[in-house]
C-alpha cells in the first residue's frame, strides 16, 4: 500500500462520509444557520436606532457569531463519531491518524463556509455593509482555517466528556482569541479601505497562527485519539 496515496484517500473518505452524513441529517448546518441568523436579527433589533453603532460593531458581531456557530458545528460533527463509538471504528483502520484529522477538519471547514455563504448576504442587507471585498474574503478564509484547525482538535478532546457543550468553548475560545482579534482588525481594515501597511500585521498574524497551530493540531491529533 502506497502510504502517501492512502493518506489522501483516507482523508477523502472521511471528508466524503461527513458530507454525506450531513446531507442526510442536516443537523450541523441547520444548527449553525439558525443560531447565526438569530444573532444577526437580535443585534439588528438591538442596534436599530443607532446606525453608527451598527457600523462600528458590524464586523465584531460577524466574527462572534461565526465563532459560536462554529462550536455548534464542531460539537455535532464530533458527536457523530461518539454515537456507536464510531471514532474507534476509524481508529481501527490502518491509516495515518493525520488523515482522519484532515478529513474531519476539511468537512468542518466546508460547513462553516456554507454557513458564511448564507449568513453574509443577510448580514450585508441588514447592516448595510458590502462584504464582497477580496481582502475580507481572504481574511474569512484564513480565520476559518485557523479556527477549524484548532477547533477540530479540541472538539475531539472534549467529545467523550459529559460536559462537552461547556468544555469545548471553554478550551477553544482562549486558544482562538488571536484569530478573532486579528480577523476583526483585518476585516475592518479592508472594509474601511485602510492602507495595506495597517492591515498587514493582522493578516501576517493570521498566516503565522495558521501555520503554527495548524501543524501542532495535526501532529497532536494522534496523541489525543490514542489517549
Amino acid at each position: 500500500m502506497n502510504t502517501g496515496t492512502s493518506f489522501w484517500k483516507a482523508a477523502w473518505a472521511v471528508f466524503l462520509k461527513d458530507l454525506i452524513a450531513e446531507w442526510r441529517s442536516r443537523e450541523i448546518l441547520t444548527a449553525q444557520w439558525t443560531f447565526a441568523l438569530l444573532v444577526i436579527f437580535i443585534f439588528d433589533f438591538a442596534l436599530e436606532f443607532d446606525p453608527r453603532a451598527q457600523q462600528r460593531v458590524a464586523v465584531g458581531v460577524l466574527w462572534t457569531l461565526f465563532a459560536f456557530a462554529g462550536t455548534l458545528g464542531l460539537n455535532r460533527s464530533l458527536s457523530m463519531e461518539r454515537e456507536n463509538q464510531c471514532l474507534e471504528g476509524l481508529l481501527l483502520a490502518p491509516v495515518d491518524r493525520g488523515a482522519l484529522y484532515l478529513g474531519k477538519a476539511l468537512a468542518n471547514l466546508v460547513f462553516l463556509f456554507v454557513t458564511a455563504a448564507i449568513v453574509i448576504p443577510v448580514y450585508s442587507a441588514l447592516y448595510n455593509v458590502s462584504l464582497l471585498h477580496p481582502g475580507f474574503l481572504l481574511v474569512l478564509f484564513l480565520g476559518f482555517v485557523g479556527y477549524i484547525a484548532v477547533g477540530t482538535l479540541i472538539a475531539t478532546m472534549t467529545v467523550q466528556a459529559r460536559t462537552r457543550d461547556i468544555l469545548l468553548p471553554l478550551l477553544l475560545f482562549p486558544l482562538i482569541l488571536p484569530i478573532i482579534v486579528a480577523a476583526v482588525r483585518a476585516s475592518e481594515g479592508f472594509l474601511l479601505g485602510n492602507p495595506w501597511s495597517e492591515i498587514r500585521t493582522w493578516v501576517n498574524l493570521l498566516v503565522v497562527y495558521n501555520i503554527l497551530f495548524g501543524t501542532a493540531s495535526f501532529l497532536a491529533f494522534d496523541f489525543v485519539v490514542e489517549g
Binding site: 492512502s6 484517500k9 442526510r24 456507536n84 463509538q85 481501527l92 483502520a93 490514542e226
Partner: protein, 243 residues
C-alpha cells in the same frame, strides 16, 4: 508447521489502581478457533481490545498477526477484523454508504461487488438504502459483521457476537463463522452461548483473575462437560499474587 497468529507474553493492563490483566501468557495458532470464557469483569473484552489495537497496555509483549504492538499497530490493523460491543456504524448513513465508507478507508478492491455480496450474505440487501438508524439491534449487528468481513482479514476477533441477534440472525452468524473457520481463518470469540460455539471451537480458554487459568481442547466435547469444566475452574480459588 503452524504459525502463531496471537502471541502474548506477560501482558499487564490496569484501569486506575485495579489490575485487570496480570502477566497474561497466551497464544493462538493460525487457523484455530479459540473461545475465550470467563466471568464478567475477567478482562475478556480488554484483552480483545488490546489485540485489536484499541487499548494500550502497561507491560508485556504482544504480537498479533505477525505485527508487534504497539510499534507495528498499523500493519496489525490491516490483518485484524474486530466486532465489539459497539457496531461502529454511522446511524445517518445507509447500510450501503456505511460499507462504502469503510471500503474506501481500507481501500478494498472491487468494493461495490463485495459490498453487494456481503449485504446479501447477512440478509440486508433489501434494506441497503435505509439509514442504519432505522435498523433493529440485530440488523445493526449483522451489518457490523459485514463491515468486519469487508476487509477479508486473516484474524477475526468477536466480542459476544451473538448479543442482540434473533434466532435467524444468530443462525446466519453461526453459518458465517463456520465458513470462516473452514477457510482457515483464525477466530477468537468471547461467548457464553455454548450450544452455538461448541461445534466451532478448536479450544476453550478460561480467563480468570487476569490470567489464562485453564485450557480445554475440543475433542468431541458436550455442552454438559464444557459447563462442568467451566464451573469447576471458575469456582476454584486462584492464588492471589502481588504484581
Amino acid at each position: 508447521m503452524t504459525s502463531l497468529m496471537v502471541d502474548v507474553r506477560g501482558l499487564m493492563k490496569r484501569f486506575g489502581y485495579r489490575w485487570v490483566l496480570r502477566g497474561l501468557d497466551w497464544t493462538v495458532e493460525s487457523g484455530q478457533v479459540v473461545v475465550l470464557l470467563g466471568p464478567n469483569g475477567a478482562g475478556k473484552t480488554t484483552l480483545l481490545r488490546i489485540l485489536a489495537t484499541l487499548t494500550r497496555f502497561q507491560g508485556g509483549r504482544v504480537q498479533v498477526a505477525g505485527a508487534r504492538l504497539p510499534q507495528e499497530a498499523t500493519q496489525a490493523r490491516q490483518r485484524i477484523g474486530y466486532l465489539g460491543h459497539a457496531t461502529f456504524l454511522y446511524p445517518d448513513l445507509s447500510a450501503e454508504q456505511n460499507l462504502r465508507f469503510f471500503a474506501r478507508l481500507y481501500q478494498v478492491p472491487d468494493a461495490e461487488a463485495r459490498i453487494h455480496a456481503l449485504l446479501e450474505q447477512v440478509g440486508l440487501l433489501a434494506r441497503r438504502r435505509d439509514p442504519v438508524r432505522t435498523f433493529s439491534r440485530g440488523m445493526q449487528q449483522r451489518l457490523a459483521l459485514a463491515r468486519v468481513l469487508l476487509i477479508d482479514p486473516p484474524l477475526l476477533l468477536f466480542d459476544e457476537p451473538f448479543t442482540g441477534l434473533d434466532q435467524e440472525g444468530a443462525a446466519t452468524l453461526t453459518d458465517i463463522l463456520h465458513e470462516l473457520a473452514q477457510q482457515g481463518r483464525t477466530l477468537v470469540l468471547t461467548s457464553h452461548d455454548f450450544p452455538r460455539v461448541l461445534p466451532l471451537a478448536t479450544r476453550f480458554d478460561l480467563l480468570h483473575r487476569g490470567r489464562i487459568t485453564a485450557s480445554l481442547p475440543n475433542h468431541g466435547l458436550t455442552i454438559q462437560t464444557l459447563q462442568d469444566w467451566y464451573d469447576t475452574h471458575v469456582t476454584t480459588p486462584v492464588p492471589e499474587e502481588r504484581v
